[in-house]
Every structure is written in C-alpha cells, then in structure tokens.
C-alpha cells in the first residue's frame, strides 16, 4: 500500500514535470538564426607586437598609444626609470566588419605607417564551417630618418617598405588560440648589395586566457632569409593583455623597439635576454570608441 502511494506521488510529480518541460522541449526544436562565427580569437588588433586576425567592427575607432622603454648598456645614467623610449600613436578604423584601416607615426624614429586588413575567412563554431580564421594584412611604412642604415636614402621611393601577411589563426578552446603568420616583406632599397630587398618570415603567436579579462600572449618571428649586413635575431615578445572596459592594456617584454612589421621582423639586432640594451619593456594602451 505504502509503495503504491509512493508510486502515485512519483507519477504525479513526473507528469507535472513532463508537461512543463514539454513547451521548452518544443522550443528546442525551433531554430534561431544567428551567425556561427567564433568570437574573440584575440582581444586586440595586435596580439602583442604584431597583428592578430582580429579586425574592428564597422564604425569603430581605436586610438592607440604604444611605447617601449629600455636602458643603454655601459652608461652611468641618471635617467628617470629608463634611458630611452620610443612611441607610436595610431588610429585604427573599421570601414566594415571585415575591413580595417590604420595609420600611425612613431617618435623619435620618424616612421609613418599605414595598413589595410581584410578578414577573409572567419572560424566557425559549427563543424560545417571553416576550422580556421584567415585575415590578410598589407602594411606600408615610410622612414623619415635613418635608423640602422639598411636602406639607401637619396629619394622618397627608397625609404619605403611593404609588409604582406596572411594571418591564420584558430581558437582551439575558449582559453587557447594560436596564430601562424606567413610574412613577405619588401624594402624598396638596400644600402648594401649583399642584402636582399625581399624577406620571408613566419610568425608564431599563442594566446592563453588566464581569466575573462586577462590573457598571456607570446610571439616569435622566424626570418627565412635574414639581412646579411647586420646580425639579426627573431623578434620575440612575452606579454599580458588586460582588458578594462573600453581600454585594452598590453604589457610586454621584448627584444625590439620599433612598432612596424618590416622593422621588427627583419631588423631586430639583439636577441632576447634581460641585459641592458637587449631588454625592452613595452606598454600599449588602446582606447575603443564607437562612432
């Protein structure tokens, strides 16, 4: 008798549960149309020092301040915090959700740069879509000053350099993303005949999200045919990206001082270590404005 009552109660509770569950189950069969693109493979348009697959959305403007600080070896210096610094102020604007344009100018190196970035393929959340995201980058720079004397400097056309990158990235899990960046760099002139005008390089950039607002990032660029007139090393960066509402703060340790791709990928003259002259501390702040 007792068991019957229990069964009866059980049955009643199940039936009540079933009927309330029913309507939601019916809704589960209905499709909601939505984009199935993976969001936020990286947070900013730069992973740390180099470009990421991310572009800006239509009608958004980003103002970025980039800086590097370092000490000069064997100098009895009284500088405040660091002996030298280098900055770049840039603007990035989303023409459409796929196309972003950017301009910047560096101080005191006097490099003007501009780029166009087009998001060709977006990684899909479903099995049917693309497993990777691909973005094309075309950047150009103009050097108003000689930095390492790599290029000839008699006329305007000799002071230019162009970088073409195919950025290929995949967000493997919600925390881990990885990007491979095949890169072609063309410099319009070379001061020394042993230097090639064209360089090929590959970038490797992992990102690991520590929490919803902080990510650990790293980058390394391997140059296949480096400069011969100068001993160069692969550009390396290890950093932290911290997102605070409209502001993206990027802190990094690196071995190069210049912000444009052609310069840091092919002309990094020091390897990464913590000695004065080799160690550069970088800080980027990017402010996001919706127009």
């Amino acid at each position: 008798m007792k068991s019957k009552v229990i069964y009866c109660i059980l049955f009643l509770s199940i039936s009540a549960h079933l009927s309330s569950q029913n309507l939601l189950d019916k809704l589960a069969n209905e499709d909601i149309e939505t984009s199935s693109y993976v969001m936020s493979t990286f947070k900013g348009t730069r992973i740390s020092i180099g470009h990421s697959v991310e572009t800006r959305k239509k009608n958004t403007l980003e103002i970025s301040f980039m800086s590097r600080y370092w000490n000069v070896p064997q100098e009895s210096s009284n500088s405040f915090i660091a002996d030298r610094m280098c900055t770049r102020v840039g603007l990035d604007y989303g023409i459409s959700d796929r196309l972003t344009v950017g301009f910047g100018s560096g101080n005191p190196n006097g490099i003007f740069d501009s780029y166009l970035k087009y998001r060709l393929v977006q990684q899909s959340t479903t099995k049917k879509g693309s497993p990777i995201g691909i973005t094309l980058l075309q950047a150009g720079t103009y050097r108003t000053r000689s930095i390492k004397g790599i290029e000839r400097r008699t006329n305007f056309g000799e002071k230019l350099a162009f970088t073409t990158q195919v950025l290929i990235a995949r967000k493997f899990s919600r925390n881990f993303s990885f990007q491979i960046s095949p890169t072609f760099i063309h410099r319009t002139s070379s001061n020394f005949s042993i230097d090639d005008h064209n360089h090929f390089a590959v970038g490797f950039s992992p990102r690991y999200k520590l929490n919803n607002h902080v990510a650990l990032v790293s980058e390394y660029y391997y140059v296949i045919n480096p400069l011969k007139s100068l001993d160069t090393y692969g550009a390396f960066a290890l950093g932290v990206n911290w997102e605070v509402s409209d502001l993206l703060l990027q802190f990094k340790m690196t071995n190069n001082q210049i912000f444009t791709e052609d310069a840091f990928i092919t002309q990094t003259a020091q390897n990464f270590n913590f000695r004065d002259g080799n160690f550069y501390f970088g800080f980027h702040a990017t402010y996001h404005i919706q127009l």
Partner: protein, 183 residues
C-alpha cells in the same frame, strides 16, 4: 508493479504527444531588451529573435533566448557581454518556463497577470514572478512585461574595477506577439 507504472507512463507520454496543438501559440521574433543604468554608463541591448510558446489551455509559457543575438550599440560591449560576462560559448541560451496565474482565455480585453516560473541563465535556475499584460488581438495573443534580475544570482562576475559601470540590478523588458502554432 513496475510494469503497471511503465504502462501508465507510456499511456501518459502517448497521450501528451497526441494532444492537439490548437491551444498553442508561438512567437519566433520576440523582443527582449535589458538595461543597466549607472552614473558611469548606460548599457542597453535588444534581442529580436526570442522564441516563445504560450499554451492557453494549461496557461503555460516557455521562452528561449539566444544570448549571442543581443544587439548592442557598441560592438565592443557585444564582445564583452558574450566573452567575459555571459560566456555564451558555454551558456548559449537563457530559458524561462512558467504558468500564468489565473489566466482566463475567455477575456478578450487586456488582463494583467502574474507569471510564475523558473528563469535559467548561465545554468542557474531561480524562481521568478513577472507582472505581465496579456491581450488578445483577433486570433493572436500579445504578452508584455518586465522583470528585474540580480547579477549576483546568476554567477556573472564583474571585476571590482568595473563594478561602477554595471548595475547590480538589470531591468529586462519583453514584448511577445503570438500566432497560432501550425504544424
């Protein structure tokens, strides 16, 4: 004993699946908006793709909301909402299922009723009571109302630095227009 229980259950399941759906009304483009007002900034987003079913016989209502479908004025807010707060990759949907208390389908004018039910967000289910207006327009039903949601109830983590930017109480409004559900 077990066999009879099974039999009863089977009969019940059969019965429920063969119930005619004339009493069912569906909304496929329901509007759900939320607002967060603080002195620092106002955040507002609207979703025009909420799914809802309303059964006038049992007075039951069910709602399914895709979190990614919320549209923000600022694209960065959309990204932060999905990536950092709602984590829509892990919890893609919010759902509600409940019953309208004392709903009378014979009334053709507007009636204000309480909807009692369970709201699920980020896999956390809390009982909610929503004051809603239900009206019948020709063959269609419309339900609109609003509710308040406490951020702390649903495991939404806001860093201390940003807590002045996001209200602790989120106002949600909805407006559903139901049509008879035809199969």
């Amino acid at each position: 004993m077990n066999k009879t229980l099974l039999l009863i259950l089977l009969i019940f399941i059969n019965h429920s699946s063969t119930t005619p759906s004339k009493e069912e009304y569906i909304e496929r483009q329901g509007e759900v908006s939320f607002f967060s007002y603080t002195s620092v900034e106002n955040i507002q987003a609207t979703n025009n793709q909420a799914l809802s079913i309303f059964d006038i016989k049992t007075n039951e209502v069910a709602v399914r909301i895709l979190m990614r479908a919320f549209v923000f004025k600022k694209s960065l807010m959309h990204e932060h909402f999905n990536e950092s707060y709602i984590e829509s990759d892990l919890y893609p949907e919010a759902t509600f299922s409940g019953t309208i208390v004392d709903f009378d389908s014979s009334i053709t004018t507007e009636q204000t009723r309480i909807i009692k039910g369970d709201f699920t967000l980020k896999n956390i289910t809390k009982p909610v009571e929503i004051k809603a207006k239900i009206s019948k327009i020709d063959e269609d039903y419309s339900i609109d109302g609003n509710l308040e949601i406490l951020i702390e109830d649903y495991n939404i983590n806001i860093p201390a630095l940003l807590s002045p930017n996001i209200s602790k109480k989120i106002e949600v409004t909805f407006n559903f227009k139901y049509k008879p559900h035809e199969k």
